[in-house]
């Protein structure tokens, strides 16, 4: 097996989570290696207009998604069914390549509500202890909305998110979501233009006494430069966000925000075409010592590191953990 020099951090997968971690940890002075199974892509080279506005290629044939001929998964709709391979893409779409699903996400950019962090205690408080029976597996997250607020705020300003605050430091704001948790400040950019359908819907909802509000989106209503100096442009409403890369640097993605910063940092090394197959552990199985991957030329390679970050998307992270002997598989019969 090929041996690579030890790194401080190895990151598996370069989607939103991996790219953000790469940017942050490289800036802290750690030597970071990012392993991504897919290839390179960037706005100018890969998503020019009009070529990227290709419904057949991207929306129907799923050019940006996981290549199932190389990485397949099985599924069943209930425990009594035999799990069968997902042979072709349907509604469930997995990212692949630099920037991961963050390249072809829609850009809908919500925060959790305060209660979402405390599903167990919130529901007990509201409906009584008896409302939660033993077979319900819900838990509180262990962090609260207030803990997360500065991070939400920072990420929205990184993305340039367009929206209208509904709660500024406890003051309810006209035109925003009155049920949201308190925000330290307004969105970095105002909401996007409402189309005729949204306008009619809002009128109707208001007549019913409801409080419709524009959905926060990281498709930008205005030109914007983020705190790292990344420049983004006002969206032109081409309507090809979800399943496509944005041609116009208008949709926040790892490619338009954190990756350019990480890639300029000499502490960060990106290795594309690198498919991680397992996490290596100390003999007592308490610590990760690195990962094994198959490189772009097909060579099995060991990358030792003090820290292993699984950022391959939850379903792949769980699979990698199970293949590495970390944790026990979920059993729906016992919860």
């Amino acid at each position: 097996m090929k041996e690579m020099p030890k790194a401080d951090v190895v990151i598996v997968g370069m989607g939103w989570t991996g790219s953000i971690a790469a940017r942050e940890l490289a800036a802290e002075g750690l030597r970071v290696v990012g392993l991504e199974r897919g290839g390179f892509r960037d706005t100018a080279s890969d998503f020019p207009a009009p070529n990227v506005l290709d419904e057949l290629k991207y929306s129907l044939r799923g050019a940006l998604f996981q290549d199932l001929s190389r990485d397949a998964l099985t599924f069943r709709n209930n425990p009594n069914e035999a799990a069968l391979p997902m042979r072709r893409l349907g509604a469930f779409l997995l990212g692949d390549g630099l920037g991961g699903a963050g390249v072809h996400w829609n850009g809908q950019h919500f925060r959790f509500l305060p209660a979402d962090f405390q599903m167990l205690s919130h529901n007990k408080q509201r409906y009584g202890d008896g409302a939660i029976t033993d077979d319900m597996t819900i838990q509180d997250w262990g962090v609260t909305y207030e803990d997360m607020e500065p991070h939400y705020d920072r990420f929205e300003y990184l993305c340039g998110t367009s929206g209208k605050a509904g709660n500024l430091r406890g003051q309810i704001q006209e035109g925003g979501n009155p049920f949201e948790g308190a925000r330290a400040r307004e969105y970095p950019t105002p909401p996007m233009e409402m189309g005729l359908v949204q306008q009619r819907f809002m009128e109707g909802a208001r007549k019913l006494g409801l409080k419709p509000y524009p959905q926060p989106s990281s498709n930008l209503s205005q030109d914007y430069t983020n705190p790292d100096g990344a420049q983004m442009q006002a969206c032109t409403y081409c309507g090809h966000c979800e399943r496509f890369g944005c041609y116009n640097w208008s949709k926040a993605s790892p490619l338009t925000t954190v990756l350019p910063v990480a890639l300029r940092n000499p502490n960060f090394e990106l290795r594309l075409g690198s498919r991680v197959t397992r996490v290596e552990l100390t003999p007592d199985k308490k610590h990760a010592t690195g990962v094994v991957y198959v490189d772009a030329l097909g060579h099995e390679t060991r990358q030792p590191a003090d820290m292993v970050l699984l950022c391959a998307f939850q379903i792949h992270n769980v699979r990698l953990m199970l293949l590495s002997g970390i944790g026990t598989p979920y059993d729906p019969a016992t919860g």
């Binding site: 419904e55 001929s69 042979r87 309507g239």
Partner: protein
């Protein structure tokens, strides 16, 4: 020109009205597709001969396959007023190109065995790639039809082709192990795809179907359209 049977408009009307919703929603989930309304009994009328094929220009399809597909596509989206028919808009050319490329080869699908029956909700569980499914099904379909009527699929008249398509979908029969409704679903999906794609792909010739539904195509700058109350009447932008 003789007036086409009135049910032609119904089918086109269905496609055109649903095309206003995103194409992906209509044909993206093959497992939950909405079929066009069953045709009413067609009025007796002058026989509409299948349009001429362009046999020399096929990549994957052989001539009998091309003729059969032409005959079937011609009834899924008939020629008539208000817009091109499926065949003249290039649907068969589109399907031929698709089958000869990565889609036909299922090159990004998981196609290794073992293969099990699967529930409809478990999607494609066939060992056939799309290209192989067309070849398999058209051959079997032609045999079934010939045994029943003494004619091949491409020789059936309009009424017979309508009845055949309806049966394939609604009273599925066996196509050498495969249900005719599975093949019908694939054919219908690809026909709709081939009617509305970027002209780059061989269908939607001259972007005529986009003009028909007022779709701007691959026009990246649509900001002023968001609040515009008038239907889009500019020329669609296409990649190819």
């Amino acid at each position: 020109m003789a007036a086409p049977p009135s049910h032609c408009f119904n089918r086109r009307g269905f496609l055109v009205s649903t095309a206003a919703t995103p194409l992906a929603g209509l044909v993206g989930q093959a497992e939950a597709q909405t079929p066009p309304a069953a045709p009413a009994a067609p009025p007796a009328g002058p026989e509409h001969a299948p349009p001429a094929t362009e046999q020399g220009a096929r990549i994957f399809l052989n001539n009998p396959e091309s003729d059969m597909l032409t005959a079937l596509v011609d009834r899924l989206i008939p020629a008539g007023e208000g817009g091109p028919g499926g065949v003249e808009s290039g649907v068969v050319t589109f399907i031929d190109h698709q089958l000869s490329g990565t889609f036909g080869a299922a090159s990004n699908w998981y196609m290794r065995g073992p293969f099990a029956e699967g529930k409809p909700s478990q999607g494609w569980q066939y060992a056939l790639t799309p290209a192989a499914m067309y070849r398999h099904s058209l051959e079997a379909l032609n045999r079934v039809v010939r045994a029943e009527s003494g004619k091949g699929v491409a020789e059936l008249d309009e009424v017979q082709r309508d009845a055949l398509l309806t049966r394939m979908e609604k009273q599925p029969f066996d196509l050498n192990g495969l249900s005719s409704s599975v093949f019908f679903g694939l054919l219908l999906n690809n026909t709709i795809e081939g009617y509305f794609p970027d002209p780059l792909y061989g269908g939607n010739r001259g972007a005529a179907t986009w003009k028909q539904i007022g779709y701007p195509g691959a026009n990246p700058v649509r900001g002023d359209l968001v609040t515009d109350k008038t239907p889009y009447d500019g020329d669609p932008v296409s990649i190819g």
